[in-house]
Each structure stands twice: as C-alpha cells, then as structure tokens.
Amino acid sequence: MKWIRFTILLLILTLLNSGNLLNFISLGSSNVRPDLLLIFLLFIGANCESNEAIIASFVIGFAADISGASMGPYMVSFGLFGSAVSQMRKVVLMRRMTHQALAIFVLSVIAGGLAELLGAIKLNTGTANIFSVILGTSVYSAVVGPLIWQLFSLLAGWLNVSDKQYKRQSSR
C-alpha cells in the first residue's frame, strides 16, 4: 500500500466525518450521518494484506479518536475489528453490494457500540440517545456504504491496495 496516499485519503475522510460538510446529507433531528471511516476500515480490512490491514485499522481508529472527544476508544475498537475483518477476508468475500451493506451494518453496530462504550467509561458520561444514534448511523452507513465502496474501489489502484489473494479466492 502507498502509505502517503493512504494518509491523504484518510485525512480527507476524517475531515468529512468530523466536520459540518456532511450535515447536508444528515437525517432526522439527531443529525444521523454515514460513518465514512468505518466504511473505509471495512474496505481496507477486506482488500489489504493482513499486516497492512492491521496497521491501517489502528491508524483509522487513531484518526477517529483525534477528531472525536477522547483518545483510545476507536483505536481499540477499530483496531480489534479491523484486524478481525482482515483475517476473515480469507473466508468471507464481500463482492456483492448486499454483502458489503450487511458487513457495514454489523461492523458499525459492534465497533461503533464498543467505541462509544469505552468512550463513556473513559469520560465518565452517559449518552441518553446512544442506541438510536448508533442504529441510525449503522443503517445509513449500510445503505450508502456500497456506493462509497465503489468509489474506494476506483481509488484502489492509486492506493496500491493489493487484492491478489482476494481475486484468487473469489475465482475458485
């Protein structure tokens, strides 16, 4: 993987994820928006070689933390689940849009939930609407995720994402 290019793309996604620009497509009074970093995490986990995917997962978690409220929760959560995805890609293929959507939904609920739980423990604060927001974000991410996945696929060559193994297994 071209790490400088990965960093540039990650920075853009982090700014979009934490800034106000995505409010144009936010839904409901809770301002639910798709989680771009989580979709990117899944894309990298599913398409990169194991070591690269693990490092990238923790780096994406670091980006989510630094643009959020506290350091640590997303690094742990994204690192754990991103690494798990990178190991599972040998058995679970995400070529179809429905599979991608389902994977994004499940990962968003679990990884997002864990990150918010760890954040709440660290900051010693409870969030009243946590379940509805996580569920809303997961559904929204799952709906638009496959489309964003296609955009990432277009950038796969530029990122030099190695998906030889992925192609070999899918052709069996």
Binding site: N20, F24, I54, M71, T127
Partner: protein, 271 residues
C-alpha cells in the same frame, strides 16, 4: 546478502493493541490536547458547511403589529430573566429585612468568546470557543447568549486557549433546573438531560405537579457558578410517561438554537 526482516502479524497486532489500550487508559487531562490540536489545525475545513439541518423560520407578512422571531425571542428571554431576578430580589429583601449579613456582591464576571466551530451530531452537540484556561475558563462554568442571558450550555473541557461548550441539548449533558409552574406559581426542582436532538428532557417529575406547555425552565442556581436562575427555554411538550403514568414526560425547547451563534458569554467561576 542481507535478508529483509519480516515482523509477524501477531507481533504487530500485540504492539498496536497495547499502544491503543495505553492511550485509552491515559487520563483525559493528558490526551485532550491532541483533540484540541486537531480542531485548531483543521478548524477552517471542519466549520465549512452548515452547522445543522435547521428549519428556516419565515415571516408570513410584515406589519407594525408583528416583530421578527429573533426580536420576540430576545424580549421573551428578557422578560423571564427579569421575573427571575425580581423573585431573587424578593427573597434577598426578605432576608435583609431581618438581618444584614454581608455587603452586596458585585455582578459575576463575564468573558466573551468567539465560536470557532460547532459540532452538531447525534452523539455530540458542542461548540469550540476561542477562550481557555488563561482567560479564567473552567469546567462546569455556565455559557450564555451574549446580551440575552439565556443559558445554552456549560464548559465541558478546556485547554490553554480554547474550550468546548457542551450544549444543553447534548445527550451527555445533565443540568439541575427549575420549572416555573404558571398554574402553581412556584418553582419545581428537576434535572434536565439533553435528548441529542434539539431539545432537553425532564424525567421523574410527578404528575401531582401542575405543569403545562409554555411553562419556563431555568438553570438552577449553583454556588460560585450561577447566582440567580437563568432561563434555558420553555416546555414545548408534556405528556404522561408511557412506562410510568404517574410521572410526566417533559420536553424543553431551548430559547436559542446555539449552533447558529457566533459569540457566547461565559460566567467565570468566582471561587
């Protein structure tokens, strides 16, 4: 010929998860500077776009009998704050009439700050302001709309030169409030929690209290932080709690949509 060393997947994972756990366990005091640094560097990009998908209020027609919504909100806030002041003065007068305990206090110092960015999402309803610890800002201090004196939130985090304001609508925000019951002509103590949207919720109030839509909600006094109750908003919806019909389910609409503000005022802690 030198052979390229390869590190095992397990080692990479173990190293990174250890670093992550250490980051998680480090106290917020030590790591918050990283979050502030990110906001500081990328603020011009982060604030680009709209703060929230807010409904636009439009006047139906203009006539001498109508005033703008902002003017109405201003007058409404001033009226309720004055009434609250009047009641506080009444209490003081009653006390002073008996015995003069201490010389009168001067008004609490107020610091004006510029809003650098507003983060409005389901899990975060915050403002980033350009005043910090060097200006006397501290966690827990009350934040007002300058001029109108309605409470919009409290300081949740500070760095040397910047601070975060957690809005009363943030789902993590918990504030002691007073409901002015117009029917009972008295204050009812309560706790308000943000709903993560555009309102606050007041739970655990018995239906024995006569509370109606339009009743005013004030931030309760807090020694050293807030000397007199200050308005937050009004009750926009009240119904019986679905799980417990003996309790009210109260929704509070804040007077000002804080995400639209460019400046705020902070009441500096006197202690």
């Amino acid at each position: 010929m030198a052979r390229k060393k390869t590190v095992s997947t397990g080692k990479i994972f173990a190293t990174l998860i250890t670093i992550s756990v250490i980051m998680l366990l480090l106290p917020q005091k030590g790591t918050k500077s990283l979050n502030f640094l990110f906001d500081e560097i990328f603020n011009p990009f982060l604030r680009y776009g709209m703060a929230t998908a807010e409904e636009v209020f439009r006047m139906s027609s203009s006539s001498e009998e109508q005033i703008s919504r902002s003017e109405y909100d201003k007058l409404w806030t001033a009226y309720h704050n004055l009434r609250s002041d009047l009641m506080a003065f009444h209490k003081k007068y009653e006390k002073l009439a008996k015995i003069r305990t201490s010389p009168p206090k001067s008004g609490a110092p107020i610091v004006l700050a510029e809003v650098l960015n507003s983060s409005i999402s389901g899990l975060r309803q915050e403002l980033l302001i350009n005043r910090g610890q060097i200006d006397g800002i501290g966690v827990g201090q009350y934040v007002l709309v300058p001029g109108e004196h309605s409470i919009i939130g409290t300081i949740s985090e500070t760095s040397n030169a910047k601070s975060r304001v957690r809005l009363v609508t943030d789902a993590k925000h918990d504030l002691k409030v007073l409901i002015w019951s117009e029917a009972m002509k008295k204050y009812i103590e309560a706790q308000m929690i943000g709903d993560g949207k555009k309102s606050g919720k007041i739970p655990l109030i018995s239906t024995e209290y006569e509370i109606n839509t339009g009743d005013t909600v004030y931030a309760a006094t807090k020694k050293g932080y807030l000397e007199t109750p200050r308005i937050i908003g009004e009750i926009s919806k009240i119904s019986r709690d679905q799980n417990n019909p003996l309790l009210w389910d109260i929704t509070v609409r804040p007077v000002y949509p804080a995400e639209e503000l460019n400046d705020v005022a902070i009441i500096i802690n006197e202690n």
